[in-house]
């Protein structure tokens, strides 16, 4: 009896030891990332919140004045902030559905048995490798009112073509179009990979049962690609809410702040107006918006794959 007990305790201790070593290995593997995460994300995140509670003095941080939530109160009373929110939402609405929809359409198109699909794959993806400054300068050049190629051709159709980036009506759609051209390749590649992962036997079974193309798309393609679609939608929402480089270079927020997005406003507040505390508060607002839309997105089209 005593020996049985001893044996079982020993067994349990051995099992415990193996669990511990697994946990230890896991932590060791995660440690490099945790360090990077802590230094470059967690610390700035906490420091940003700390700063948002102060009238921050950049040259002499120790002289910063603690004002609790005054920066947040100022934010909800600031018309320029709401203009920036509006501009950002307009950009998100113009880009996200198009980028996801167009990415999906291109992926399904290239997945067909067509000639030159390798070439098309390269063509659709290639703009994505450019930097934001290159893309912005190319498109600003295309949109240029007198010397730009776009207005050269539009000039044949109408006598006074619009000044795209200087117009309240066209500036944001013009920036959105440049962004779509630039980044749709990323969604395209992810969605193409997801489409190629859908088993062909499902479509064969559907065909045998007499399902139409539309039904196969609705009942097989979309549900099977749901996680990939959720992924690109979430990534796209985050990227579009954070838009900065394109508007900064192409329009500088104009005309009349109509394309000044939240991150650009945050940047101006911090680095031009030296209001780091207020800028940090705006950053926190954006943070909570992004957390919220990501959660909502996950609830609606994400969830389990089963």
């Amino acid at each position: 009896m005593a020996s049985e007990n001893t044996e079982s305790v020993l067994q349990r201790l051995t099992q415990l030891g193996s669990v511990d070593s697994e946990a230890r290995d896991g932590i060791l593997f995660a440690l490099p990332y945790l360090l990077v995460f802590s230094v470059f994300l967690l610390y700035p995140l906490l420091k940003g919140f700390y700063m948002s509670l102060f009238d921050w003095n950049a040259f002499n941080p120790s002289q910063s004045e603690f004002i609790l939530f005054e920066n947040y109160v100022r934010m909800v009373q600031d018309p320029a902030f709401f203009k920036a929110v509006r501009a950002t939402v307009v950009f998100v609405v113009l880009t996200v559905p198009t980028l996801v929809g167009l990415g999906l359409a291109l992926a399904l198109g290239v997945n067909q048995d067509i000639k030159g699909k390798r070439f098309l794959r390269t063509v659709f993806f290639s703009p994505y490798v450019l930097t934001v400054s290159v893309v912005s300068l190319i498109w600003a050049g295309l949109y240029a009112p007198e010397y730009g190629p776009l207005n050269y051709y539009v000039g044949f159709l109408m006598s006074n073509p619009p000044s795209w980036l200087n117009s309240f009506t066209f500036a944001m759609p013009a920036v959105a179009l440049a962004t779509i051209w630039w980044t749709v390749g990323f969604n395209f590649v992810i969605l193409l990979a997801a489409r190629q992962g859908v088993p062909e036997r499902l479509y064969e079974a559907a065909r045998i049962d007499g399902a139409s193309t539309w039904h196969a798309f609705k009942d097989i393609t979309l549900p099977q690609m749901r996680s990939a679609i959720m992924f690109v939608t979430t990534v796209q929402l985050i990227a579009s809410f954070q838009v900065f480089g394109q508007v900064f270079i192409m329009t500088n927020g104009g005309p009349g702040d109509s394309t000044q997005t939240l991150v650009m406003y945050l940047y101006r507040m911090a680095f031009r107006q030296q209001e780091f505390g207020y800028a940090a508060a705006i950053g926190y607002f954006l943070f909570f918006v992004l957390v919220s839309v990501s959660v909502i997105n996950y609830k609606f089209i994400g969830g389990s794959d089963e």
Partner: protein, 412 residues
């Protein structure tokens, strides 16, 4: 994780390090500039000359992009990683006063007397000399003499008043297919000459203690209507405020008259048409004659570990700046250079600098007000006039709204 990445934005300020100069040591002075084109080449030549003449101190020049210069400088100075020496426009010094070293005790004997007094005064803040002036660079009215000839106008009699401008510009519009006049060829710095013309009308831009806009009254509205009429009534230019449109048009010979700074000399030297420059007092209602001006100055950040050498370099660069006048076209702030034969016998003197020098001597330079942060007034005014110019905003409503925005910004 992606959300956390987004949230990293909130910590932008927390990561405010960067910059490249590491404070220097021994005889090396790290020096940040924002000059490109002809200015960049002239500054490179000046620094090379300094380095050749000095064995004990060597300047390491580093050029930053113009548009982001002050953002980068600010970041480097708050992060304690600033250069030993940097260029500051006089109107930007105010926001850096806490981070700049007073130069008084480190200057050579008699150094303060080496500069044109009115320019030197702009570098004094709260009783401290925070920088040494390199130049002043006012605006002038540049015009294309070939277009004047084509329109039947006398190329040696450019307009000097609003009435003369109207006659010349109307004639050019009627007689040629060129654009006649653009008041800000960059279409994003309207505020500069607006301030000068507002002063020229006898009005103020801000109130005496810089806490309120003072341009929302009849003078400001009259000027706003002038900008509106140029494009929307008189057809002197297209109703379009796209960046740099005017400077491209002037360089390509499609624009007859524009207002630009001293540096335009370097650009126009490369053109194959005949051009001239005159005083830009051409807005309506000018009872006093004023033009915009700013100065490049050299300042030493607190965090510099090589301040003595940096000050010595700053004194040499600002007092040996002949090439800054002859090649870059700026009006040197050093009295000896300005009055020297080398500058006064150079092409630039006849072409532009003698006229700029006259305006400086006659007290016709309007510096923009130094507020805690000039962005507070620059952006609202630039944005408003830009929209007025492109016909997207009513002039009176636009300038009054800009004045209200400026007051709000100044009062924080």
């Amino acid at each position: 994780m992606k959300v956390a990445g987004a949230a990293g934005l909130t910590g932008l300020a927390g990561c405010s390090g960067g910059g490249s100069g590491d404070g220097g040591s021994g005889g090396t002075v790290t020096f940040w500039t924002l000059f490109s084109g002809g200015d960049g080449e002239a500054m490179k030549a000046l620094v090379d000359e300094f380095n050749e003449e000095h064995d004990d101190i060597q300047i390491e020049r580093e050029r930053q992009p113009f548009d982001q210069y002050y953002d980068k400088l600010f970041t480097s100075m708050t992060g304690g990683d600033a250069p030993d020496l940097a260029v500051f426009h006089t109107t930007e010094i105010q926001r850096f006063t806490d981070a700049l070293t007073p130069l008084g005790g480190m200057l050579s004997d008699g150094s303060a007397d080496a500069y044109v007094d009115s320019i030197l005064q702009e570098t004094e803040f709260g009783g401290d000399r925070l920088a040494l002036p390199l130049d002043t660079h006012p605006n002038g009215l540049y015009y294309n003499k070939d277009i004047f000839r084509d329109a039947g106008l006398d190329p040696e009699s450019p307009p000097t008043t609003f009435d003369e401008l109207k006659t010349a510009a109307d004639t050019i519009t009627a007689e040629t297919d060129k654009q006649a006049f653009n008041p800000d060829p960059y279409n994003r710095f309207f505020v500069r000459q607006f301030i000068a013309w507002q002063n020229g009308r006898g009005g103020n831009f801000l109130n005496d203690d810089n806490t309120e806009a003072a341009f929302g009254g009849s003078d400001g509205v009259a000027l706003a209507e002038f900008y509106h009429n140029i494009t929307n009534e008189w057809n002197w230019d297209q109703a379009d405020s796209t960046d740099d449109r005017g400077t491209k048009a002037f360089r390509s010979g499609d624009l007859a008259m524009t207002i630009n700074g001293t540096w335009f000399f370097g650009v126009l030297q490369e053109q194959d048409y005949d051009w001239g420059m005159t005083k830009p007092f051409v807005a309506p209602g000018q009872s006093q004659e004023m033009t915009w001006a700013n100065s490049h100055t050299l300042g030493v950040p607190n965090s510099s570990s090589n301040q003595e050498a940096a000050v010595e370099a700053a004194e040499w660069l600002t007092q040996n700046s002949t090439i800054w006048g002859t090649d870059a076209g700026h009006l040197p702030a050093a009295q000896g250079i300005l009055e020297g034969d080398e500058l006064q016998s150079a092409t630039v003197w006849d072409k532009t600098l003698s006229t700029f020098s006259e305006m400086a001597q006659d007290g016709q330079l309007a510096y923009m007000p130094s507020t805690e942060n000039n962005e507070a007034y620059k952006r609202p005014v630039n944005q408003a006039i830009s929209q007025i110019y492109s016909g997207q905003l009513d002039p009176e409503e636009g300038i009054k709204q800009a004045a209200a925005d400026v007051t709000k910004n100044l009062q924080g």
